[in-house]
Amino acid sequence: MVVFITRRVLQSVIALLVMSALIFIGVFAIGNPIDILINPQADQAEIARATAALGLDQPMWVQYWEFLRHAVTGDLGRSFSQNMPAVQLIFERMPATVELALCAMLFAIVLGVPLGLVAGIKPDAWYSKTIMAGSIFGFSLPTFWVGLMMIMVFSVYLGWLPSTGRGHTTQLFGIPVSFLNWDGITHLMMPALNLALFKLSLLIRLTRSGTREAMLQDYVKFARAKGLPMRRIVGVHVLKNIMIPIVTVIGLEFGSLIAFAIVTETIFAWPGMGKLLIDSINVLDRPVIVAYVLIIVCLFVIINLVVDLLYSMLDPRVRLAEARA
């Protein structure tokens, strides 16, 4: 187990290093930072001085080492447009994104698992076919377009829900959250549902296929022979057995929810990290772009690591296979 964990952590560190190098090359080496950082009217001597001051005359690997050294201490530069440390700016926006993503995940689980169970128990019923057809649409519909249509229906025509912003926030342990008051909830509803749609379809399909397989197993037949009510068979026996893959997928998909929040936040003007990224790209605020990407990469590496470790604890076969490989 110790060997497995060490290896896995080492792999994560290497992944982080590779990604940071790629980001460094992509953002700092392809474009010329000087063009952005100093006044275009500056003369040659001034450009040379600024280049030396910023360390841009050093060889590439020295620059990368400096970048890494600063990154480790949490210093990823200052935002040009907001004049504050890029990392701080992102951490300020993070709660909004995490709240949105958690809420979307909740929608996906609360709706997706029961619908998947229903579709898996009676795969040939008309309602199961409707659910599956719906999930194909959930996969095919581009998220951003669904968001627009939701705004059109619920905000413009029906006038039920507000279309932009986060609404009134309440402090919870010093973090502003929207879900504790009605105004915040009405603002949260549409973006969360929009973001949930894709994961909802995924969970429906996953639960359905798991249930279909589980229903054919001997333990289900035995439980039925014992005369247990269907509710108990499905709710206890089947659900327990299909939970492992579902939990894994939920864990892994959480990272992608945060990434896809970029689109949803832009549509609903939700003041999270994703909207910050798009705004920064539009004004070429490179330190913020780099900081966002590095933080997201860390987040992904950590999520993948945690899911892998949890999985190996739940399922010893994984551990053995990894140790042998």
């Binding site: 992944a15 590779v18 990604m19 980001i23 992509g26 953002v27 392809i30 474009g31 194909i136 649409f137 996969f139 095919s140 519909l141 581009p142 998220t143 951003f144 377009w145 627009l148 249509m149 705004i151 059109m152 905000s155 413009v156 025509y157 279309s163 990272g255 992608s256 990434a259 896809f260 970029i262 689109v263 832009t266 549509i267 990224l277 798009i278 790209i281 539009n282 772009i289 990407v293 997201i296 990469v297 992904f300 993948n304």
Partner: protein, 295 residues
Amino acid sequence: MSNRGVETPFRRVAADFAESRLAVAGLVTLILILIVAIGAPLVSPQNPYDLATLDIMDSKLPPGGQSLDGMTFWLGSDDQGRDMLSAIFYGLRISLGVGTLATVCALAIGLTVGLIAAWFGGWVEAVIMRLVDLQLSFPSILIALVLLASLGQGVDKIVIALITVQWAYYARTVRGAALVERNKEYIEAATSLALPTSRILFNHLLPNVLPPLIVIATVQVAHAIALEATLSFLGLGMPITSPSLGLLIANGFTHLMSGKYWISLYPGIALLATIVSINLVGDQLRDVLNPRLQK
């Protein structure tokens, strides 16, 4: 063909494919969309990008509205007085073109890299596959966004971004299929004949790993189109001079709040029809080409 009744592989696939009415409907829709997209200049009522034909007096007409000179805008017009139906036909052309081009290039790269990984093994394989794993652990939209943020805008850049996002899927699939195939007798026979490696790879191995690739490529075209539309909507994709469906939808977003729904709605439906029909065809192809499901 004169050999009627003889079961060629193509005929078997076609017959199996036709078993699902939904998939056939998808295929028919897809063919119609392709015809409209390729023949956009011929079937459009108006050339939406010829400024001489546009009249600002016709702007934001609702669907079915008439222009001053008697032309009917079946799907309404946008803020420039552009016929939406024509704009959608031209937009389909750009979306499908970019999606297909990116998929074909990514397929070629992924195929070559995957075959090399499977054939040579060792550290070559290890490096390639770690790279693939690393890339696939991040959502495609994130990779594309970061790339476009550092490369800038343009048709060529979005194609590069779409290729970068896709190649890893093909590389992984090809390697998986090729690892199974390389231990079979026909490869052994080819090797003992001392054929050149490139010939074994591309003439013997390649045709046998194609079926799963065709399936993935079909579905990936849909992915590429959706991703391009999303990026364009975010303002990072296609330049304003080549308005894809995503850009049309983004343009309509600004008028949505005033109730002018048609500028966003219809391009969205065109996008949806394209993606759904490609997915339906892809799903059925997967079943037809999967040897495990064969009766």
